[in-house]
């Protein structure tokens, strides 16, 4: 299961097995979307599968996630989604009303993201073989002019921008499973981040070096991947990382690190220092970007690692997630 949790094991699976056997260029850094050239034109393409329990949760549902997640993968690759196809794996006995609810949620999310669904496929598996439903979406998009996303272009001194509070999705799902006897006024942050990225691109396009949506494995895993890809260190300042009290409280209580908690409506951007203020201002002025902050910067050390510093002078290394986050009790 650890291979699917988005952390170290997932990366090793991709780098150790999938990339060498399946990819044309096994050594290219792993991004969120691929760049395919068709008749001289660049097309962005990405795919993602959505497996979530429960199917509906405060703030969203699997259908909405399936659209937003793939659009966001395109957006953080500097591409604007144009069209999407979807595959559904349905468990026998799934109530028709649940399916209809999810299709409606997808339609609404497509409408909001301004993208069209152009095809799909459906399979039904025996009862007990799937958690209600799985959805895979594949999106293609057009790259935005003036934006080049490449971890290898990141330099010491670059600023790390985070679009909003972390951990809402991960903690919401954990609580929505109902195993915890914990309640909080919290909902998933699932949304399409394209409008925020477009606003930032308008003001700071030449300074944008790298972006990623910190989904499974959280901010810590995304930034560790960046650190490894660029060979530099990321130094975060703990008190600048936006987080709701409910997320902080739940993480304190359960012994979880919010930096490992999943997000479905945020993104990280590394921006050249001279463009950082412009990028941040553009985000802060855009609806849904009011809580964006500069949370840290790129330095030469710790090479290939992420360091979090506190206001009182303490510091700690934050690694990628190993397996799923498990609550600590004793």
């Amino acid at each position: 299961m650890a291979h699917g949790a988005g952390g170290k094991a997932s990366r090793r699976l991709v780098e150790g097995l999938f990339a060498p056997l399946l990819f044309e260029n096994a050594n290219a850094p792993l991004g969120d979307a691929a760049n395919v050239r068709i008749d001289g034109a660049s097309v962005a393409i990405t795919t993602d599968s959505f497996v979530v329990n429960p199917l509906k949760f405060p703030g969203g549902s699997i259908g909405e996630l399936a659209v937003n997640g793939t659009m966001n993968d395109l957006a953080v690759s500097g591409a604007k989604g144009q069209a999407m196809v979807a595959t559904f794996v349905l468990e026998e006995g799934l109530p028709a009303s649940v399916l209809e609810g999810e299709i409606r949620a997808m339609a609404a999310a497509l409408h909001r993201a301004g993208v069209v669904m152009v095809g799909g496929d459906t399979k039904v598996v025996e009862r007990g073989k799937a958690d209600g439903m799985y959805i895979t979406t594949t999106g293609i998009g057009r790259f935005m002019p003036r934006v080049t996303i490449d971890a290898r272009s990141v330099r010491p001194g670059d600023k790390v921008i985070l679009s909003g509070p972390i951990g809402d999705h991960g903690i919401t799902i954990l609580l929505a499973r109902g195993e915890l006897d914990l309640e909080a006024d919290l909902s998933s942050d699932t949304r399409c981040v394209l409008p925020l990225i477009e606003a930032m691109v308008d003001e700071a396009a030449p300074g944008i070096r790298w972006m990623r949506d910190p989904t499974r494995g959280g901010v810590a895993t995304s930034l560790n991947e960046l650190a490894r890809d660029c060979g530099l260190g990321i130094v975060l300042s703990e008190e600048e990382i936006p987080m709701r009290d409910e997320v902080r409280g739940a993480c304190e209580l359960l012994g979880l690190d919010p930096l490992h908690s999943a997000n479905e409506g945020q993104f990280l951007a590394v921006v050249a220092p001279e463009y950082a203020d412009a990028a941040l201002n553009a985000l802060n002025r855009t609806e849904g970007g009011e809580d964006a902050f500069i949370i840290g910067e790129v330095r030469t050390e710790p090479a290939c690692g992420v360091l979090v510093t506190t206001r009182y002078g303490g510091s700690r290394i934050v690694d990628m997630l190993v397996g799923d986050p498990l609550p600590r009790i004793c």
Partner: protein, 377 residues
């Protein structure tokens, strides 16, 4: 957030740190053991070493229940689950701890019904909902978690729930501290006393450490300011040549402990004559056993237990690290053969284990500093 933010206030933390620098005699080396794994985790997580003078050495103690559990007990528990088609329920802390034939999570991947629960009461609830299955709760922990196991067993008995049992691995903290103090290669100046354990047992049980061993003890909370204040209190005692038990964690720890919790424990548990601790060996009267009145709910009496004994890999030096004789990075396997992804010793598994805490929060920081120093040179 109340009870958190004020204990992470940078100004107060800086002041406490300055007070420690002022109190610590530069000619002296202080060896202070934090007994509790929660403290170890907090020390690394908050990077407290960065605000302490270098002559204050924090030694990580045996208070991580996952770390001191012998591998054979995990194998025994999982063998019962496999052979008797039992639902194996345990805290998340246990899930990645390797037995000789894999961890509970690996057994789950092979088809054993393994469930993560957040309290023993949740395991009992699984039993209520699955009357045709047996649910075994694999209980771990010091006096912190033992009362909730006791109350759950009392409820199981009161409700007559027959398809539930507890595989009891509860241990007690005092004999472990005694074993550490008896160890000949151990030189300690003072103790940061456990926080959560003390909410149950209070502060009195530590008095012998001050009286007979002449070592100060301060029970401490888990926030940065709690730990620094506790170190200030210990240094003041050491400077004055005193040895007393003090309570820094008064907002949570009553001096006399929690009588209701102690009563529940006494009702359900009795001391085992001896119990094996990973790294420390057999310690007499150091663990809890379920009383005969609750035999029906005692997995060890209900199922045949293989009684597996597993010797730790020879090269792993968990015992020395657990006793504070070696630092995590001084173990031969640290960071190469033994990592959080592929733990060989239990200290690498639990995030409260000193090796995992050191690896996750400190190890690469040290590497980073070494490289930056050598690149300057």
């Amino acid at each position: 957030m109340r009870y958190v933010d004020e204990f992470r206030d940078p100004e107060l933390i800086t002041r406490a740190s300055e007070e420690i620098y002022r109190l610590a005699d530069p000619a002296r080396h202080y060896r202070i053991m934090e007994v509790c794994g929660g403290h170890t985790h907090a020390i690394y997580r908050f990077g407290l070493k960065d605000v302490l003078p270098s002559n204050i050495e924090l030694i990580h103690g045996p208070g991580c229940p996952v770390c001191v559990l012998p591998m054979g007990r995990i194998d025994d528990g999982l063998a019962v689950a496999r052979n008797a088609n039992v639902i194996f329920a345990a805290f998340g802390d246990m899930m990645r701890v390797p037995g000789a034939h894999g961890s509970p999570l690996e057994h789950k991947a092979r088809g054993t019904d393994v469930r993560i629960v957040y309290s023993p009461a949740d395991a009992l609830q699984i039993a209520r909902r699955n009357r045709d299955r047996h649910v075994m709760f694999f209980a771990i922990g010091f006096e912190t978690t033992a009362p909730s196991t006791a109350l759950t067993l009392m409820r199981a008995k009161a409700e007559g729930i027959a398809n539930f049992s507890v595989f009891c691995n509860h241990v007690t903290i005092i004999p472990a501290i005694r074993a550490i103090l008896d160890s000949p290669d151990m030189r300690l100046d003072a103790f940061i006393g456990p926080g959560h354990v003390s909410t149950v047992i209070g502060c009195r049980p530590y008095e012998w450490i001050a009286r007979n061993e002449g070592k100060p003890v301060v029970t401490s909370g888990f926030e940065p300011l709690d730990l620094l204040q506790s170190i200030v209190m210990l240094l003041r005692q050491l400077q004055a040549g005193e040895a007393r038990v003090e309570n820094q964690y008064k907002r949570v720890v009553p001096w006399e402990g929690n009588r209701a919790a102690l009563k529940a424990m006494a009702e359900v548990f009795q001391l085992r004559p001896y119990f094996e601790w990973r790294g420390l060996g057999f310690i007499s009267q150091s663990a809890l056993k379920i009383r005969d009145e609750y035999a029906e709910w005692d997995a060890e009496q209900r199922f045949p237990i293989p009684g597996t004994r597993v010797t730790d890999p020879k090269a792993a030096q968990c015992g020395e690290v657990l006793k504070g004789v070696l630092k995590p990075a001084q173990c031969k396997l640290f960071g190469n053969e033994c990592t959080p992804e592929h733990p060989i010793g239990a200290l690498m598994v639990s995030s409260e284990g000193s090796c995992a805490a050191y690896y996750n929060y400190e190890h690469r920081k040290a590497v980073a500093m070494v490289t930056s120093i050598s690149s300057v040179a």
